[in-house]
Each structure stands twice: as C-alpha cells, then as structure tokens.
C-alpha cells in the first residue's frame, strides 16, 4: 500500500489533471489577448495563431482610444475603489477596535448587528438605495458608489479585524495608558500598525468585487462622466458589437488592470484566504 505515495503514475496523473484544468482556465483569456493584436481577416482565418508580422495590427486599440473614454472610466474606477477601501479600512478598524477592546453594554448585540450584513447581499435593498440617492442628489456621482461599497464591505471587515485585534497584547495597550496616551492615540499609533497584515487582507478581499461590479454603476451612476471601467467596457462593447477588432481590444484593456493588480497582490490574497480569514 505504501507504493501509492511515490507511484510515478500518480505524479504524472496529478500534473496531467492540473495542466488540463490550467489550460481550460487560461484559454479564453489567451484567445482574447492574442486576437486583439491581429487584423480583422486574421482573426477569422486563424483564430488560434499568434500574431505575426503579417497579421499584426493595432486597429482595434486605435478605435477604442478614439471612440471610448477609457482613461476617464479607468480614473473613475480607481477613485471609487481606493476611496471605498479607505473608508472600509478606517471605519471597519475603528468599530472592530471598540468591539474587541472595551466591555460595554450591548457589545455582543452590536457585533451581531454589524455581522448581519455578511450573509445578506446589499443588492436586495437596491430599490430603496436608488430612491435615497435620488432624494439626496447623489445619483450619478461617484459618492453614491463609494457609500454603497463602504456599507457592503464593512460587515466582513469588522468581523475579520476584530478577530485580529483581540490578539494584540494587553500589556502594550496598558503601558500606553500608563504613559498617558489617549484611547485614540493607542488605536492609531499602537494597534493599527500591528494589524497591518489583516488590513491588507481585508483590502485585497474587497478590491476585486468593487472593481468588477456592474450592478450598482449601472443603476446608480450610469452617466458618461461617472462610468466605471466595468460599465464603460460593457456599454462600449454593446455598441461596437460587430467591430471585432474594437471588441477584442476593449476586452483586453479591461483585463489588463485586474491582471496587474492580481500579479501584485496574489500572494496577499491567497495567504488571506488560506489563513482561514473566511472561516
């Protein structure tokens, strides 16, 4: 029976299965990227061939640059994502600190209240959210999106961060108190730097869903000047659906920023998931 652990057939089989699935996972992305650099005829004649000197063409990218305001969309997505992450981390860490550090009446109830939103998707409340944004004049502003994503991200952030804050040593905080530091200084100067890895985990978890969301940009901020990259590329592709060069180039341009973010943060993301932060 011990053969099973070193059997070469097993090793080959395992790599075979993994390579097969990796190909399935990457094939569509690969096809889109290579064809975005080809002339129209080559896209149809040899869809799986790499672009060569004969078939190479940037015509799709030229159309995208001329027709779509992708720089603006990108900027909007950046602002929304960064601002939402900032508020999720700041407000989430503050609330998590209060729940983890102080004993007060209603602590448990407060924790449960804030945790409700982990399982209930915020989309259910869309009708009333839109009504509220119209009433406050926030519709078609980036603030509407930032507020919604902050509210959406807070429950899990508070939950994860308070777990980590409980592990910060009491001696350190009490030493600070004896030195006369205020509770605010203890939080910002002593505790926050110590939970930096947990903050990074929360940021990475929230980053991709916010960047990729289509629902709220479509409903709350569909105006040309507030379109995010996800909504912008959806609308652009819908209009240029018969121009294959433009569609493929727009898709590649939408893939690129997420792929770069992933390469930078994948270690953090995978460590976050595998460290059991989602338990």
């Amino acid at each position: 029976m011990h053969k099973a652990r070193t059997n070469p057939f097993n090793t080959v089989g395992m790599h075979g299965a993994l390579i097969l699935y990796t190909l399935i996972a990457l094939f569509p992305v690969f096809v889109i990227l290579i064809n975005s650099f080809k002339a129209r005829k080559a896209i149809f004649r040899e869809p799986l061939a790499l672009p060569d000197s004969d078939s190479f063409s940037l015509i799709g990218y030229q159309t995208v640059m001329r027709q779509g305001d992708f720089l603006l969309y990108f900027q909007n997505s950046m602002i929304v994502t960064v601002a939402s992450l900032f508020f999720i981390l700041l407000f989430g860490a503050m609330a998590a600190f209060a729940l983890a550090e102080y004993r007060f009446k209603g602590n448990l109830l407060m924790g449960l209240y804030l945790a409700l939103g982990i399982m209930i998707p915020i989309r259910i409340g869309t009708v009333a959210i839109l009504e509220m944004m119209v009433a406050t004049g926030l519709v078609n502003t980036l603030w509407a999106l930032i507020l919604v994503y902050t509210a959406q991200g807070l429950p899990l952030a508070v939950f994860i961060l308070s777990e980590f804050m409980r592990q910060v040593s009491d001696d350190l905080k009490n030493a600070g108190r004896i030195d006369g530091l205020s509770e605010y200084t203890i939080f910002f100067r002593l505790v926050l730097p110590l939970v930096r890895p947990a903050l990074a985990t929360v940021a990475v978890f929230n980053m991709i869903p916010i960047w990729n969301d289509l629902w709220f940009p479509l409903i709350l901020a569909p105006a040309e000047e507030t379109k995010t990259l996800t909504l912008g590329s959806q609308v652009f592709i819908g209009q240029f659906v018969t121009d294959w060069n433009a569609v493929l180039s727009a898709l590649s341009m939408a893939i690129l920023p997420v792929l770069i973010l992933y390469v930078i943060f994948s270690r953090q993301l995978i460590r976050g998931i595998t460290s059991g932060a989602v338990k």
Partner: protein
C-alpha cells in the same frame, strides 16, 4: 470601571461604521421590504398590503415569469453544486499533495478567471462559442466531435446550462482555495495514524480527509447559494435584460432588474421590483437559516 459615565471614545469609534452601515444597507433593506407593500395609484403611493405578492405569485402574467425565474435560479444553483464544488474539491485535493511541484503556479493560474469581471467573462465566452467566429466548432472538429456543436447560447434548451457552466468556470477558484486551506490545516499526525492503519492514497482522502473538511464544504455551499440567488451580471452581459432566448435564462436578479427599470414597452415598477426583492430576501434568509441551524450546528466538528 463601574463608575456610570459615558465613555465617549467608544461611541466615536463605533459611530462612523454603524452610521454608514445602517443608512446605506440596513435601512434601505427594510425600506425596500416596506415599499413592497405599496402601489402607485394615480401618481400617489397607496398602501396595498400583500397585494403585490399575490400578483407576483398568482396573477397569470406575473406568476409565469416569477416561477420561471425561480426554477431557472434553482437549476443554476444545482449546476454549481454538482459541477463547481466537486471540481474545486478535486483540484484542492491534488494541490495539497505534499510532494507536488509547481503547486503555487497552478493555484495562481486557476484562480485567474475568478478575478475577471463578468463583462470580460460574458463577452469572451460569447465570442468563443459564437458560430460566426468558429473557435468552438473547429476545436470540436479537431477531436472529431463536430456533430456535438450547436449555438449553445442561442438555444432555449441549452442556454441556461451553458451560462451556469461559464459561471462555474469563472468561480471554481473559490471552493478550490477554501478547501485547499482546510486540507492544509489537517495535522500530519492524523494522516500518519491513518497510514499506519493502512489507509493511504484515495481511501485516505475519502475516509480521513473528507470528513474533516465537511464544515468547509458547508461554507462553500452557503456561499454558492447566496451568490447564485443574487446573480445578475453574467446573464445581463451575455443575454441582455430580456434574458433570452425567450426568457429561458431569466433568473431572479434579471427579473428584478427588468421589473424595477422596465424594458422596451413595459414601464419600470419600483413596487413590484421591491416585491421581487422581498421574495429574494426570504429565499436567501431561509437558505442561511437552514445552514446555520440545520447543518452547521449538527455537523460534527473534530478537534484538530
């Protein structure tokens, strides 16, 4: 500590998160449920009780669409449970093998579809499956299976299953990662104890590891459930708000969007939209309760 005074710093720490969360999430959630009890008569909001729900469940025009969307949604969920989660578990089991090389590389590559937006995934697969471009038929031709090809996204009987499988392709990384983490947390002593008893290889997976990762399988099931029952983006991108062909890919998310915003000749109706949101809320709540009280508390947790 027992001096009854208000500790202002606690309030200051809690206030911003509580305010934003309450104002933008909890309040609209209940307000939406409240709006479901109203209707618009002569441009005024009138309280109608459960009338909207009666229309939704029993009025022939509405109920046909609603039950269609609900049934499709369950099929969508079933495919995820039967395809996505087993593939995810199998990949995680292979990846967690102790002497496997390049595990990190495979793991990162297989996770890539999960980080892409629905817009990219939807259009990319639409192009690949398109009979005009012909990548899918020519690839099937290469392995002698060309007769299997059909314009899958355009046929009523295949479209929903095709979209569900595209979604599975996109999200298989999540169960893979969570199960992978659970498998890594099993201590070596337990596996070695099994080995001494002659349990290795496949039987070690079925008899030792699988029972230990059941709680994680429970978590991925409820995550899949909640995710599927508020899905919208992929269907909208690939098939539009009408969820064609002939509503065969309509799920609750697209049905709510169409009802709320209107399409073509039908005007948007926020009150019926709220009623659908209310039904979605109830379904998700029932699912979460079944998980929390029926599955999670009864599941045997092994002290590791």
């Amino acid at each position: 500590m027992s001096v009854p005074r208000i500790r202002w710093h606690i309030i200051v720490f809690l206030a911003p998160a509580t305010l934003v969360y309450t104002a933008v999430m909890i309040f609209p959630l209940f307000n939406t449920l409240r709006l479901a009890l109203y209707s618009e008569v002569a441009q005024a909001r009138v309280f109608v009780g459960l009338e909207n729900f009666r229309t939704l469940f029993f009025d022939p025009i509405w109920s046909e669409q609603f039950w269609n969307a609900l049934g499709n949604n369950f099929w969508f969920f079933l495919i995820h449970m039967l395809v996505q989660n087993p593939i995810g578990i199998a990949l995680a089991a292979i990846l967690s093998h102790p002497r496997l090389r390049f595990a990190a590389l495979y793991r990162s590559a297989i996770f890539i579809p999960t980080i892409l937006s629905f817009v990219i995934v939807g259009f990319a697969w639409k192009l690949i499956l398109s009979p005009i471009w012909g990548i899918a038929p020519s690839m099937l031709d290469a392995v002698g299976l060309k007769f299997l090809f059909a314009p899958w996204l355009g046929k009523e009987e295949y479209a929903l299953t095709t979209l569900a499988l595209i979604s599975v392709w996109q999200f298989v990384g999540i169960p893979m990662m969570l199960i992978y983490a659970a498998l890594l947390s099993i201590p070596d002593e337990i596996l070695e104890a099994g080995e001494i008893d002659g349990i290795t290889g496949m039987s070690a997976f079925w008899k030792v590891k699988l029972p230990l990762i059941l709680p994680s399988i429970g978590i991925i099931s409820i995550l899949t459930f909640v995710g599927n029952f508020n899905a919208f983006d992929l269907i909208y991108v690939a098939q539009g708000a009408l969820a064609g062909p002939d509503f065969s890919t309509d799920i609750l998310g697209t049905f709510m969007y169409r009802t709320f915003f209107g399409f073509q000749l039908q005007l948007g109706n926020p009150h019926m939209g709220s009623a659908i949101a209310g039904a979605m809320f109830a379904i998700i709540l029932v699912g979460v309760c079944i998980y929390l009280f029926g599955i999670q508390t009864r599941m045997r947790r092994y002290q590791l």
